[in-house]
């Protein structure tokens, strides 16, 4: 039998059911790797081996009973460990959102996505690092220090779900949850050489997710392959009375097992606006050759246009900060988190928020407050919401003639830690290819399609109409059946 960390999620679950592996063995393997490797990677903000192992023992007991009496109910993911991005509440584990303003916060409840996974038998290995309140593209904005890319420790893992991407890439966890407001699952997946799904807006409940941009935030999943992500997505998806933006559209019943690698008749659109000057040549080449691979699989490729793409960045950087400025008003030092005491009530607010929020969070709160303030609302926020409608219409028109849209995830591979210094606008430009899907609410999947000459992973994304995650899974899976980019691992395992 191959090493535990080489097994797919399906193989892990099968081995658990057959009794070839115990949950304790699997959980211990990953905990040991975290202990050995995370000092240099810093993917995790919180790990508690005792909690994880005691959950594993419970799962093993359940599995054992089930093997004696297979008529008993056994949850679909019994005994499987995963990591959770630290913006999702897990009861009994601290939730900081990468911020000092939530230091010590111990949520008394589980986020719905987490609750559903736990009910399905999942064991939580720990909480992963993130840009503060998911605001960033590099995980450098975490108040607890940056995460390092496993392919090159001097480089960023992308962000904001950089901790989760790193955990999967370095095999510190077989899979992980992330969140995607402007690309925060897809871009780190691309930078770390893993697969990441951003579901349709509203497909997965946001209850228990620390809110950033509420009309954009989506809970997603990351794993080695599309097939590994599917079981997690199936469990998390579905309407929730605690989040009124979830919808009742059922997930179509499908699986990826025993599928022939063919995509006959799939119509793939290539948007001209995503192949601009300034894209790293290696990225352009890898994405081009992935598109050819899709043609080999039977897909029909055609050029399309999404004319309002260039406005996605300014629209996003008005709408997301505007929503953030409202959402983050709740952090006031009164109900949770640390407080900077003062004689006057308003000074508690001013001092606590001024001191405990990081530079990027304050910048976005200021930007959003300005965009919503009297006299500027129509010119900034109002106009942005109108242009957002045009961006959404771009997608609706394109999906009249194609089933998926294929594009690079980011213009470059992972950049160096500190490279963007104190230049927020240049950092925002990293997000140009991922923001449109969030503004339109459509699902997207990012997966590895090659490496640049420095050995850094390159990702490609597919986007589909609302509710059509199925198409994304089938297409990415077919590609992964005939390629092995996704099974490559960074060479940092000497120690473990």
């Amino acid at each position: 039998m191959s090493e535990i960390i080489d097994l797919s999620l399906g193989e892990l679950l099968a081995a658990l059911r057959a009794g070839d592996l115990t949950s304790r063995e699997i959980v211990s393997t990953y905990l040991y790797r975290i202990e050995q490797l995370d000092a240099s990677l810093h993917a995790f903000l919180f790990v508690n081996p005792e909690i994880s192992l005691s959950q594993a023992d419970k799962a093993d007991k359940k599995l054992q009973e089930w093997r004696k009496d297979p008529d008993q109910y056994l949850p679909a993911l019994a005994g499987l460990p995963i990591a959770i991005k630290d913006v999702l509440c897990v009861s009994g584990m601290p939730c900081t959102s990468g911020s000092k303003i939530l230091e010590g916060f111990l949520p008394p409840y589980d986020a719905t996505a987490v609750k559903r996974l736990r009910e399905a038998g999942v064991i939580i290995l720990g909480k992963t690092n993130t840009d503060e309140f998911a605001m960033g593209s590099s995980t450098e904005n975490s108040a607890y220090g940056p995460t390092h890319n496993p392919w090159d420790l001097e480089r960023v893992p992308g962000g904001s779900s950089g901790g989760s991407a790193t955990a999967v890439s370095a095999r510190l966890a077989p899979a992980a949850l992330g969140t995607d407001t402007g690309g925060s699952v897809r871009q780190p997946a691309s930078f770390c050489g893993v697969t990441g799904l951003k579901p349709t807006y509203g497909r997965v409940s946001r209850y228990g997710l620390v809110a950033y941009g509420s009309s954009l935030d989506v809970v997603g999943a990351m794993g080695v392959s599309a097939a590994d992500i599917l079981p997690l997505f199936e469990v998390m998806a579905g309407s929730d009375t605690l989040d009124a933006t979830t919808f009742d559209q059922p997930l179509p019943d499908f699986d990826l097992v025993n599928r022939e690698p063919e995509l006959n008749g799939l119509r793939v659109g290539i948007p001209e606006e995503y192949f601009i000057d300034g894209i790293q040549e290696a990225v352009r080449r890898a994405v081009r050759s992935a598109i050819e691979k899709f043609e080999d699989l039977g897909a029909r490729v055609e050029r399309i246009n999404l004319p309002f793409t260039e406005y996605a960045l300014p629209v996003y950087y008005l709408i997301a900060p505007a929503e953030a400025s409202a959402n983050l008003a709740r952090f006031d030092g009164i109900r949770y988190g640390p407080r900077l005491d003062a004689d006057e009530m308003w000074d508690i607010y001013r001092n606590t928020r001024g001191e405990k929020f990081g530079a990027e969070v304050k910048r976005r709160i200021m930007l959003g407050t300005y965009a919503l303030s009297a006299g500027y609302y129509e010119a900034y926020y109002g106009q942005a919401q109108k242009v957002r409608t045009l961006i959404k219409t771009d997608f609706e028109s394109a999906f009249q003639s194609v089933d998926v849209i294929a594009a690079p995830v980011a213009p470059t591979t992972a950049f160096r830690i500190g490279e963007h210094g104190d230049d927020p606008l240049s950092m925002y430009l990293e997000d140009i290819f991922t923001l449109p899907a969030n503004l339109a609410g459509v699902p997207g999947i990012s997966f590895p399609v090659g490496f640049d000459d420095q050995g850094l992973p390159i990702g490609m994304q597919l986007m589909a109409p609302h509710f059509m995650e199925k198409t994304l899974f089938e297409a990415a899976h077919a590609y992964q059946q005939v390629t092995n980019w996704h099974t490559q691992r960074p060479a940092l395992d000497k120690a473990a």
């Binding site: 111990l106 009742d248 260039e310 949770y336 407080r339 304050k362 109002g382 106009q383 409608t389």
Partner: protein, 95 residues
């Protein structure tokens, strides 16, 4: 367009953020850059276009108005920095 120090101070006050002098200078510059960049939206003709209110085409579902138990008072107060007699404690806000 260039944000003045007074404008930055006004926004910071609306957002209840205490900023240092250095932060005010830096944010004035950076926010001006970002707003300059965002100004390109002004050139888009949006006459007759409605602002996006929701991205998905499905409506929000209705549900039964049923009472169910939430978190206890004790759980809700557990994370607070200062409490007294089952309440959050803050300095007086009325003289």
């Amino acid at each position: 367009m260039k944000l003045t120090r007074e404008e930055v101070e006004h926004i910071a006050e609306l957002a209840r953020l205490r900023l240092s002098g250095q932060e005010k200078v830096r944010y004035a510059e950076q926010l001006s850059d970002i707003l300059d960049y965002a100004a390109r939206l002004q050139s888009v003709d949006t006459s007759g276009i409605s602002p996006t209110a929701r991205v998905s085409s499905t409506g929000t579902g209705l549900r039964e108005d049923k009472i169910h138990s939430g978190l206890s008072q004790k759980q809700l107060l557990e994370n607070a920095p200062d409490t007294e007699k089952g309440q959050f404690r803050v300095p007086p806000i009325l003289e």
